[in-house]
Amino acid sequence: MNGPPMNSVDPLLSVRDFRLEFDTFDGVYQAIDGVSFDVAPGESIGIVGETGCGKSVTARSIMGLLPSPPARVRGGQILFDGEDMLTVGEERLRQIRGNDIAMIFQDPMTYLNPVFTIGTQLVDVILAQQRAKPRAERMTRRDARDHAVEMLRKVNLPNPERQLENYPYQLSGGMRQRVLIAMALSGRPKLLIADEPTTALDVTIQAQILDLIDELRADFGLSVVMITHDLGVVASVCDRVVVMYAGQIVEDASVARLFDHPAHPYTRGLLASVPHPGRPATSLSGIPGSLPNLLDPPSGCRFHGRCALAGDDCLQPPPNTVLAERHKVACWRAMEGAGAVD
């Protein structure tokens, strides 16, 4: 979707026609096929889709975290503040990580090193950020420790000084995720990528972590890319949603617009499969079938095999249609679909 920019502000992050594939023993797995989206400064977007649709791969590509081989970039650009993350090189990427873009992950249980204290890991990360700065502005180890305590306080961890001496296994899942958030935000990044940050947590803790991210977002002026399969998460923290299916973006809309006027049949399927207190459980419907095999992706619209509205024209690549100012969809049946819900 190489449309005109959606707002007048220059985007902080601009992913343009990004293509990536993996070499596997069975052949080439076309994980990402022509993904484009923008994130404005201070904006929070959600990337939603089923497991395997390419949302995590997209997130890790932004940080340059995918090992190559097996991953191979086939084209496109990932522009962050005007720099193409795909070509800046590992040295520059390392400076950008932590300082400009930070990331938190799905399972806080496994993303902290089990044999180092929280303090050691936090201080290490803070000290690593200093290398991108001129010598005079760098923090000393003592400053870094104070900063670590301050960050733990910011994420509402009780007894921050004491927590520095603790090992990860002495903390609960929610507390660990707070530590990881403190770690990610310690370099005051402009963009936070959150890869399913609440999936592994209890429901009550989920809400706390989402509130925290929302609060810190305002506090730090952060842009957020929230990767999730949970539309509830999107509704509570995102301004805009990108819906991915089988390595492609099928719909891109503001949250309000997407929930009220979902245009793509897949999006509507997703919305219909979310349990809702006001509706009886019998009205809950799944989407029949499963993700297509991306070793040999279907021609045309990748969703046509599971789509109730599919016809012969769906074997051709679908057009990108701008339905409203902040609403784009890639579907032959978009207008009919949107009309049917309206």
């Binding site: 975290l65 932590g98 992950f105 902290l112 090193n113 044999v115 950020q129 090992y167 990881l180 990610a184």
Partner: protein, 336 residues
């Protein structure tokens, strides 16, 4: 950590008692009748009985065991027939040489093996990895004594870089015994030329001895590093902008060192009891040579003595490894 250490120490006392029970049992099974043996082939029943009473062999078994323990504790480990000296004195003369050789050897194996394991893992399936693999396969497959002979031939006889064998030169006065470790004693007494000479002598046998341990350290460390480098916390460390060196050498290696420590401890224990070939080739006055000579001449007391000392040091090694485990991994430490 203190509780953890104490608990391990108490466990070790029990294991030691077990070891002594085993050696005691063996000494009671063979030879068939020590009293008859001591009395000689021409002795009559009366004389044999007198020996039996004299050696306390008529007492109940548990009483004999207590007497046996008492004897060991007071340093009376019996007498060697083939050296005609007290076993305790022999062990004190030979065993420290072996300890020195094995310590030096395992240090070489660690110093080379751990970095090579890390490098092999980081450059998995690249040429460097393949070259290291050749080294590990060779290390496992090559017989130590052959390696020792070849090293003697090339480095001692042809290049003349190192002496052929022995602990120090015949003419050198060894330092006074303090720790019984010759190199340490030499250093403690400021005899640097003796120290250098001893160092010169230890290199070839230590290198020959280290190969199997080196090979297994590399293999285990490589495998553990590969697994560790795939962990989520490594992805997180990269995402936070840590340098590759710090991630590999600190964040991953400390995790990978846990299983590697286990193999180091095991190998060290095996090496203590498996030095005889290298000691023979390099004429190294160690316990392996001593024990084998005792075994050949059916000299019973030295064999028992060597067994106890080796067993004890094997346990000590495992004890130390447990402690290091506790230091490296907070979860192990707090599990007690």
């Amino acid at each position: 950590m203190l509780r953890f250490t104490l608990k391990r120490a108490v466990l070790m006392v029990f294991m030691l008692l077990g070891l002594l029970a085993i050696t005691f049992t063996i000494s009671h099974i063979a030879p068939s009748d020590p009293a008859a043996l001591a009395a000689g082939p021409d002795a009559n029943v009366e004389m044999i009985e007198r020996y039996r009473v004299e050696y306390g062999l008529d007492r109940p078994v548990y009483e004999q065991f207590v007497v046996y323990l008492g004897r060991l504790l007071t340093g009376n480990w019996g007498k060697s027939i083939h050296t005609t000296r007290m076993v305790w004195d022999d062990l004190l003369a030979y065993f420290p040489n072996t300890v020195e050789l094995v310590l030096f050897s395992i240090l070489i194996a660690i110093a080379i093996g751990v970095p090579l394991g890390v490098i092999a893992a980081v450059y998995q399936n690249r040429p460097v990895d393949h070259m290291i693999r050749i080294l590990t396969v060779t290390g496992v497959a090559m017989p130590m004594f052959w390696l020792g002979l070849m090293a003697q031939l090339y480095f001692a006889l042809y290049l003349e870089w190192f002496p052929l064998g022995g602990r120090i030169e015949m003419m050198t006065d060894p330092p006074r015994d303090i720790t019984h470790l010759l190199m340490v004693d030499a250093l403690l007494q400021g005899q640097f030329s003796t120290f250098v000479e001893a160092l010169h002598h230890i290199v070839l046998p230590a290198v020959a001895l280290c190969f199997p341990a080196l090979a297994s350290i590399i293999r285990v460390n490589r495998a553990e590093m590969l697994e560790t480098l795939n962990q989520d916390y490594i992805v997180n460390a990269r995402a936070q902008g840590l340098s590759t060196f710090r991630i590999v050498a600190v964040y991953a290696l400390k995790n990978a060192m846990l299983p590697t420590m286990a193999i180091i401890g095991l190998r060290f224990g095996w090496m203590l009891g498996g030095t005889v070939l290298v000691e023979t080739v390099f004429d190294w006055p160690g316990i392996g040579l001593y024990a084998v000579q005792a075994a050949i001449s059916s000299d019973f007391e030295p064999i028992m003595g060597a067994t106890i000392v080796l067993g004890f040091f094997f346990m000590m090694t495992n004890f130390l490894i447990d402690i290091i485990y506790g230091v490296l991994d907070p979860r192990v430490r707090d599990q007690v």
